[in-house]
Amino acid sequence: MPKSLEEINERIRDGSVHVVTADEMTHIVGELGLESAAQEVDVVTTGTFGAMCSSGVWMNFGHSDPPIKLSKVWLNDVEAYAGVAAVDAFIGATQLSETRGIEYGGAHVIEDLVAHREVHLKAVGYATDCYPRRSVETTINIGDLNEATMLNPRNAYQRYNVATNSADRVFYTYMGTLLPRFGNATYSGSGTLSPIYNDPDYETIGVGTKIFLCGAEGYVVGHGTQHDPVNNFGTLMVTGDLKAMSTDYLRAAILHKYGTSLYVGIGVPIPVLNAGIARKTAISDADIRTTVLDYGVGRRSRPELMTVSYEELKSGIIDLNGKEVRTSSMSSFFKAKEIATELAEWIRKGTFELALPTMRLPNQAVLKPMKQLSKAPLVREVMLPSITVHEEISIQEAAKIIVGKQVNHLPVVSADKKLIGIVTAYDISKAVALNKGDSLKGIMTKRVITAKPDEPIDLAARRLERHNISALPVIDQANTVVGIITSEDLSKLLACR
């Protein structure tokens, strides 16, 4: 027997409503069967608590006297976007402080506001007849704002990819620290509690759906940016009143060597209107699969290594082609469950009724990559032919080649043309100055940092920067030198972009 939303709201009002969390629902359906579970349970609550970079707050500061039209505004030295009406601005979670950098960002300003801490405001404007003032500096707290409305363009990802790293060095990413040679794997998302996975056809989650947002009542505005329902990467755009939110469910975060982000807590109630919805809310961690990607490759299409379920991820270890890799969650399942439980409590107490969407969310949208007018150049397109030398030549011979060919770097190759080292003009000068050795073999650098012909030059440039060196021999799969790429050539090229 299907139920109407009005019947469920009536039960919320008379206190007879039966609410369970989504992980409990998995067991209830298992025990009672679909029909009885659908009859028995009125509402299933979901929850998620994780880093959601696409988050921010619209603020209205009120007018100063004399009034100013803000053209730029900073809160605790973090710039907020002010390209709207005179004293409105949007502060985004990942905008960094201009004085403290990665240690403090928009997310921290938002947390400070919610915690009722004072925030320093500095603004400049251009004077007009109606807004004659050019600058203002003051201190505000959340109570001084006319409005503080959270509006997050992309939250509550249905699921997320798992990150690991094949490279020989540590990678610092928005998925946390990834240890070398598949040293660990990190994931995000609340699995069985995932709001969208419990309503994957968007039957009850839509425009206007009432939700739990960081401890306050919030709403779904529509689908989030990068919404990709076809591939089970749906997202939500959500809004709520920051003044009613709590730091229990909203936290600023710093991802080491990456930037700042905001941990946002979202709970979405799913009304169990029929057995079909009951079936979908019975989804378990074992049913939800996601892909392990190699973040050690800096391209848009990161290599897909395997697929795993959230159940496997939560076991703490995944088997990655024979290697046991330890896993960490970047989002908090513990807090997600707390949110689903808290929302269930609101509904039981009768303080939170459900609303049907006023419009359905798209379930067919296709996600496009960025349209780029020019392709990022590849190393092969900009590399120069390299002059290579044999390891047995003398230092004097090498010096002659450096001067004669006007180069600074000489890749050293073995008899079968494989790269075995590199010497620079500096290495040669040093050897001469210290009167050290006579063949290159003794003075060359053996651990050579290289580039591959089919890499975009941006990756090569980042490598030069990281190792503080000025050239990379380009090698093919057989370790044969096919060219060289130098920082000098790269800077000329990048200057033209």
Binding site: T177, Y263, G316, S328, S329, F334, K335
Partner: protein, 129 residues
């Protein structure tokens, strides 16, 4: 138990660890070692019941010995129980409980400090901070 050994410059050349192991016969585990121009500092793990004996053997050889304090601490107000720390710790200080909250056993810590930067919430700090 973990103890910290501080070697003054004058004994740095001597194979002290080897001497102490041979003398006491205690199987010592080296957790961390730092040696630079002015000082050598080594953190070793010793079975609880032999700590006194081992400490005494080092002291006799001119080494400063102290018990390692809680090397890192957790700021519970900042921790959101995500578990980002779990997979980067080489000695499994952090583990998930059944309810997905985090259990912490800092006595295993070897102070590699990877968790400190990994934690998105700055909830793990060295004891000095």
């Amino acid at each position: 138990m973990k103890i910290v050994l501080k070697f003054p410059q004058k004994v740095m050349q001597d194979p002290l660890l080897a001497d102490v192991v041979l003398e006491t016969g205690v199987r010592i585990n080296i957790d961390r070692a730092l040696v630079d121009a002015t000082i050598g500092e080594i953190v070793i793990d010793v079975p609880d019941e032999r700590v006194e004996e081992v400490a005494e053997a080092f002291r006799r050889r001119g080494t400063e010995v102290r018990e390692m304090d809680m090397p890192v601490v957790l700021d519970e107000a900042e921790c959101v129980q995500c578990g980002a720390c779990v997979s980067v710790c080489p000695v499994e200080v952090f583990t998930y409980n059944k309810d997905r909250s985090i259990s912490i056993d800092f006595t295993r810590c070897v102070l590699c400090k990877t968790c400190i930067t990994m934690c998105p919430h700055g909830a793990i700090k060295t004891a000095e901070e």
